[in-house]
Amino acid sequence: MLSLTSVTKRFGALTAVDGISLDLARGEFFGLLGPNGAGKSTTMALIAGLTAPDAGTLTLDGQPLTARHAATRTALGLVPQHLALYPELNAVENLRIFGELYGLHGADLRTRIAAALEAVQLADRAKEPVKNFSGGMQRRLNLVAALLHRPKLLLCDEPTVGVDPQSRNAIFDYLEQLNREGLTIIYSTHYMEEATRLCSRIGIIDHGRLHALGTLDELLTRLPFEEEIRFPATPATIDFAAQLAAHGELTVEDDVRRFRPHPAFPLSAFYALAESHALPGRLFTMQRPTLEAVFLHLTGRTLRE
């Protein structure tokens, strides 16, 4: 459905997007995960046709996305990172403007507006100026404003920034429902929990480059360990830790030692070594690897840096 081939975008000396290639199938829920300044928003802007690439091609169903064809425009829906709404206008008026810009009008538009407001639980506030809405309510309206024209591909650029947990869950539920109904979604975020919960496939982006691409399980296999074992950094564990270092990656953080064993070092060997140091099994907790660990492994920095 969507295809990016060696797409590059530069702003002066800064290469914001560096040779990204990506293919998206219809119905995917694709996550673009990376810290601030990684190139997520620029990638979104390129897909949305807001800026032209310096190199590479972008196509949607075979049509070039850089060309400003109405057909490709109407196939896209963009949820900007900012609350792109007119605060003095009420919810219905805001939606009417964005609907009309996509050629909707009359009873059809009114029906779609009513359904959209119902879907994000704003029907009872329909005639209220948007400036009176809470941040979460504005975010929900910001989302449905991109959906009135029923796009094939929805681009969500960090759509939950500054949102309370309740509204965030409402947005997640709605997006999941839309995806189940067949909508293809690209979701950029720097929250690994969001990508983990929502996305069927995730691309890890940093410094404009796509470092990894795959499902959560596929990304986790990129790690040189299958689990992380944590135990207290006490004097009793010093000798044990020294011997472990030869069998995997060992780090210390906040009085906790984290050990990520090499694949050749099985758990049975780990526990045998612990027993030899008279360390009881209750000292150890097993942690399944996360996207955070994948990101750290691939880029050498955390998502919040």
């Binding site: 949305a48 109407t74 007119y86 403007i97």
Partner: protein
């Protein structure tokens, strides 16, 4: 609906919802126009300052001096103070010695004082001698007081000077030759303008040159506010025939001549503010959403231009309507052409606002730039004072401002009552300015950071 009209309607609804913007666009200019009108006494025959405190000390025993004081009392520009209140609440006449301490005291009751000396009229001196003490706050105030005093002395009480001349002539010529001289003049006047030579000679001998042609004492000096009468023979010696070639039939001349300048200034401020709204929309991410839709930069810019023209046209029409109801400006006699000029002026002002938004890096810079250029254009364009008061080389710059040509347009319609064909050159210049400025603005928008 075409995207431009969707965006235009959005801007208009947005404007209507923004109470502060509505007040700034319509209510504030309306109030300012009313206020300026009241301050400057638009359409009032007795416009000008009133009630300026003026202390008067009269040391002269001449009846003419007393007459001067009475005339000054009737002059609405002044509030005369002639007495001093003692600590025991008793009052006495002011003396010259009282004046300086009173004027130098903080919060003084008056800042101007006229002293009529004891030798106001003297055979030893030619003319009149007054002393004016002042503690002026500004040059205009001093000039105003001086001007009104001189007008009162020389136009309302000419016999003061007449008495002085008569006294000096009598001293030099001697009684006999003096009487013969007056008799000859009276005979000549009577032959030329009619009247009784004996009565006329009496008037001349008393220094009163304001008598009527028939010799009766219809002195205009006794009628404050009245214009110089042509019935006085001496007034007929020099006679200006004033013919107003253009605008003679305009109902409210003063208001009609200046309301265009006020209106165009307010319009510039309103449209500059709305153009800087482009930055707010950019910062809110709205351009991202719009440009992701089937909307182009051109749609956004031209919708803003149309919005400016519509809003500006409405604002100008509203202000002229205010001028009609407050000051009687005749707009309905030229409504069609006036609306046309309003739209062309609004187009030029909108283009100017768009250029500011295109050149400035952010809203704050655009607003600063707008304030500076609007003040400059208003001054140069003649919105504040007639450009003929400016140096000639500055007058050349006036013709490069849209304020000048907008005012020319309003003047052509409301003052000169020109036809559509006569108006065409001005409309062409305003239209040309709009096209040129918009072309530069669009070029800058496409290379600037607004849509980046």
């Amino acid at each position: 609906m075409h995207p431009i009209f969707v965006l235009l309607r959005k801007d208009l609804v947005n404007f209507r919802r923004n109470r502060a913007a509505v007040i700034l666009t319509f209510v504030v200019p309306f109030t300012m126009i009313w206020l300026f009108g009241v301050i400057f006494g638009v359409n009032k025959k007795d416009s000008g300052p009133s009630g300026i405190p003026l202390a008067v000390v009269n040391a002269s025993s001449s009846p003419a001096a007393q007459k001067l004081i009475e005339t000054l009392r009737t002059e609405k520009s002044f509030r005369l103070i002639t007495t001093f209140t003692n600590p025991d609440k008793t009052q006495r006449l002011l003396t010259e010695a009282d004046l300086r301490p009173l004027m130098e005291a903080p919060g003084a009751d008056f800042r101007f004082a006229l002293v009529i000396p004891a030798d106001l009229i003297s055979p030893e001196k030619l003319g009149l001698h007054f002393k004016l003490l002042s503690n002026p706050r500004n040059e205009i105030e001093t000039q105003t007081v001086n001007g009104i005093l001189q007008k009162t002395v020389f136009m309302q009480v000419p016999q003061l000077l007449g008495q002085s001349l008569q006294a000096r002539a009598k001293a030099h010529l001697g009684e006999s030759r003096f009487n013969e001289f007056n008799h000859t003049i009276a005979s000549t006047v009577a032959r030329t303008y009619g009247g009784d030579p004996a009565v006329i000679e009496q008037h001349i001998a008393s220094g009163d040159f304001t008598f009527a042609a028939d010799g009766s004492a219809s002195s205009t000096a006794a009628k404050p506010g009245a214009s110089s009468s042509t019935s006085s023979p001496f007034a007929q010696l020099i006679n200006f025939e004033t013919v107003q070639v253009v605008g003679a039939n305009v109902k409210s001349p003063f208001a009609t001549s200046i309301v265009g300048g006020w209106a165009i200034q307010f319009l510039l401020f309103a449209l500059s503010a709305s153009a800087t709204g482009l930055f707010r929309e950019r910062d809110a991410g709205l351009f991202q959403r719009l440009l992701a839709a089937p909307v182009t930069r051109a749609h956004i810019l031209w919708s803003k231009f149309l919005y400016g023209v519509v809003l500006g046209g409405i604002q100008l029409a509203t202000l002229f309507m205010a001028g009609h109801f407050l000051f009687g400006i005749d707009i309905f006699g030229h409504l069609g052409l006036l609306i046309l000029v309003c739209l062309f002026a609004a187009g030029a002002c909108t283009a100017f606002g768009m250029l500011l938004a295109a050149c400035a890096p952010n809203a704050e810079a655009a607003q600063g730039l707008a304030t500076l250029s609007i003040m400059l254009m208003s001054a140069l364009g003649g919105a504040w004072f007639p450009i003929t008061l400016m140096p000639v080389f500055i007058q050349q710059f006036s013709k490069f401002t849209l304020v000048y040509w907008s005012m020319e347009g309003f003047s052509a319609v409301l003052w000169a009552g020109q036809s559509f064909v006569q108006l065409l050159p001005i409309l062409a210049i305003l239209g040309g300015m709009t096209a040129l400025v918009m072309a530069v603005a669009v070029w800058r928008f496409n290379r600037g950071r607004l849509f980046g």
